[in-house]
C-alpha cells in the first residue's frame, strides 16, 4: 500500500456573531485556502454556528511550551498594581 495523501491540516477559528471573539473550533484537511474555508464551513457550521471563519495552516501556528509555563507566565503575577483593586480610593468618591 502506498502512502496515501490526506492533504494538509488547517486550524479553524469561528466567530459566532459579529463582534464576538474568534474561537478555535477544531481542524480540517484541505489542499488550498478555498477548500479549507469550504471544509471548515461544512464541518463546523452546519447549524449557523458561525458568521465568519478564519482558517490557518496548522504548520503556521506557534504554540508556547507547557514546560516553560512557570518562567513564561510568571512576570504577570508579581505586578498586582496592574489590577484596579490595588488602588486605595478616597472615602466617598463615586463612580470610579
Amino acid at each position: 500500500m502506498t502512502a496515501d495523501n490526506q492533504l494538509d491540516v488547517w486550524e479553524v477559528f469561528m466567530q459566532s456573531k459579529p463582534g464576538a471573539n474568534y474561537i478555535h473550533a477544531g481542524s480540517i484537511h484541505a489542499s488550498d485556502k478555498q477548500m479549507a474555508l469550504q471544509n471548515a464551513r461544512d464541518t463546523y457550521s452546519r447549524r449557523g454556528e458561525g458568521t465568519s471563519i478564519w482558517v490557518v495552516p496548522s504548520s503556521a501556528i506557534v504554540a508556547s511550551n507547557p514546560e516553560d509555563n512557570g518562567m513564561f507566565f510568571d512576570p504577570a503575577n508579581d505586578k498586582i498594581y496592574r489590577h484596579p483593586t490595588f488602588y486605595v480610593m478616597p472615602e466617598g468618591a463615586k463612580a470610579i
Partner: protein
C-alpha cells in the same frame, strides 16, 4: 531514566487527580496516549462506518421530508467522524495511519454497525436506540481528561439529540399506523434492542481496559453504569408508543430504583467483534472501495494546488 519516568507519571497523575485537562503538548505517559488513540480512532471509525446502514435507506425514504432529514443526519455522522479524527491527530497519529489501521483491521469500529437495516423502521430504531445509547456514553465523555476529545464530545452531544428525536418520531409514527407498520416497528425493536445494550461493552467484571482508563479519567462511568442509565430512560419511551422491550426478565427493581434486565448474549457479541457478524465484510469492503475510488480527487486537489503555486511564482 526510570526514575524520570516515574516522576513524570506521578506528576501526570497528580494533575489528573486535581481535575486538570490534558492538552496535546503536555507530557503524558505512553499508555495514556495509546489508550486515547485506540479509543478515539475507534469512535471516529464508528461514526463514519455508521453512515453505511443509514445510507442504505436514502433512496427509499418514505417522503421528501424523511429523505432530507436522513441526509442531514448522515452528514452529521460524517462531521462527527471528522471532529474525532482531528482530535486524535493532535496525539501525533496521522489520518493516513488511522485509515490504514481501519482497513487492516487493527482498529475496530462499533459492533452495532455490523447489523443490517432491513426496513425503514430500522432507521427509526438506529436513531432512537443506537444514537440514544451513544448519547449516554458521549455525555459521560464530555468530562474526559483529554481536552481535544472532551471538546469534540461537547460539540457532538449538541447535535446528537436531533438524531435521537428523529428516530423516536419515526417509531412513534409507525406505532400509530397500520398493523403492518406496527409489526415492522416491533420487529426493528426486537432486532436492535440487544445489540444496543452490547454497545456499552462487556460487564465491568470482564472489561480488560477499565483500570488505567478510570485512573486517568479517560472514562468517567463504567460500562454497566452507562448501560443501566440507557435502559432506565428508554423503557418508558417504549411504553409511551406501545413497543414491547424484547426481554422477558426486564422488571422494575423498587429497592434499587432501576430496571433489572435479562442476560446479554455475549457469545454473539464476541462472535460479531471477531468478524462473523451479518455485515462486517460488506462494511469494510465498501469503505476500502470508496476510499480507493476517491484517490483521484485527492490527487487532483494536490495538482491544482501545485498549479496555483506555479502560476504565483511565474
Amino acid at each position: 531514566m526510570e526514575q524520570a519516568q516515574e516522576t513524570l507519571l506521578r506528576e501526570f497523575e497528580e494533575k489528573i487527580e486535581c481535575g486538570f485537562a490534558i492538552e496535546p503538548k503536555d507530557k503524558m505517559p505512553a499508555g495514556y496516549r495509546k489508550h486515547l488513540i485506540r479509543q478515539m480512532s475507534q469512535h471516529a471509525h464508528s461514526e463514519v462506518i455508521g453512515m453505511q446502514p443509514e445510507g442504505n435507506w436514502v433512496t427509499r425514504a418514505p417522503s421528501l421530508r424523511a429523505k432530507q432529514i436522513l441526509l442531514a443526519k448522515i452528514q452529521d455522522e460524517g462531521g462527527h467522524g471528522l471532529y474525532l479524527y482531528s482530535a486524535a491527530e493532535t496525539l501525533g497519529v496521522s489520518r493516513d495511519e488511522l485509515i490504514e489501521q481501519l482497513h487492516t483491521g487493527k482498529a475496530k469500529y462499533s459492533n452495532i454497525f455490523n447489523y443490517p437495516t432491513l426496513s425503514w423502521a430500522d432507521i427509526g430504531a438506529i436513531g432512537w436506540l443506537v444514537d440514544g445509547a451513544a448519547i449516554v456514553n458521549q455525555v459521560s465523555l464530555q468530562r474526559t481528561s483529554y481536552g481535544p476529545y472532551s471538546r469534540a464530545m461537547v460539540r457532538i452531544c449538541k447535535e446528537e439529540s436531533f438524531h435521537q428525536r428523529q428516530g423516536y418520531e419515526i417509531m412513534a409514527k409507525m406505532m400509530a399506523g397500520t398493523a403492518d407498520q406496527k409489526a415492522m416497528a416491533q420487529d426493528a425493536m426486537n432486532r436492535w434492542w440487544w445489540p444496543s445494550l452490547m454497545m456499552f461493552g462487556p460487564h465491568d467484571s470482564d472489561s480488560p481496559h477499565t483500570g488505567d482508563a478510570f485512573r486517568w479519567k479517560i472514562k468517567r462511568h463504567s460500562n454497566d453504569e452507562l448501560r443501566q442509565k440507557f435502559i432506565d430512560k428508554t423503557v418508558q419511551q417504549a411504553e409511551v408508543i406501545g413497543l414491547t422491550i424484547p426481554d422477558k426478565d426486564l422488571k422494575w427493581n423498587e429497592a434499587k430504583q432501576c430496571y433489572d434486565h435479562g442476560e446479554i448474549n455475549w457469545e454473539e457479541f464476541y462472535r460479531v467483534i471477531g468478524g462473523d457478524g451479518p455485515c462486517n465484510k460488506q462494511r469494510m469492503e465498501h469503505h476500502i472501495r470508496v476510499h480507493n475510488e476517491g484517490a483521484w480527487v485527492r490527487e487532483a486537489a494536490e495538482a491544482y494546488r501545485a498549479k496555483q503555486q506555479y502560476s504565483k511564482n511565474a
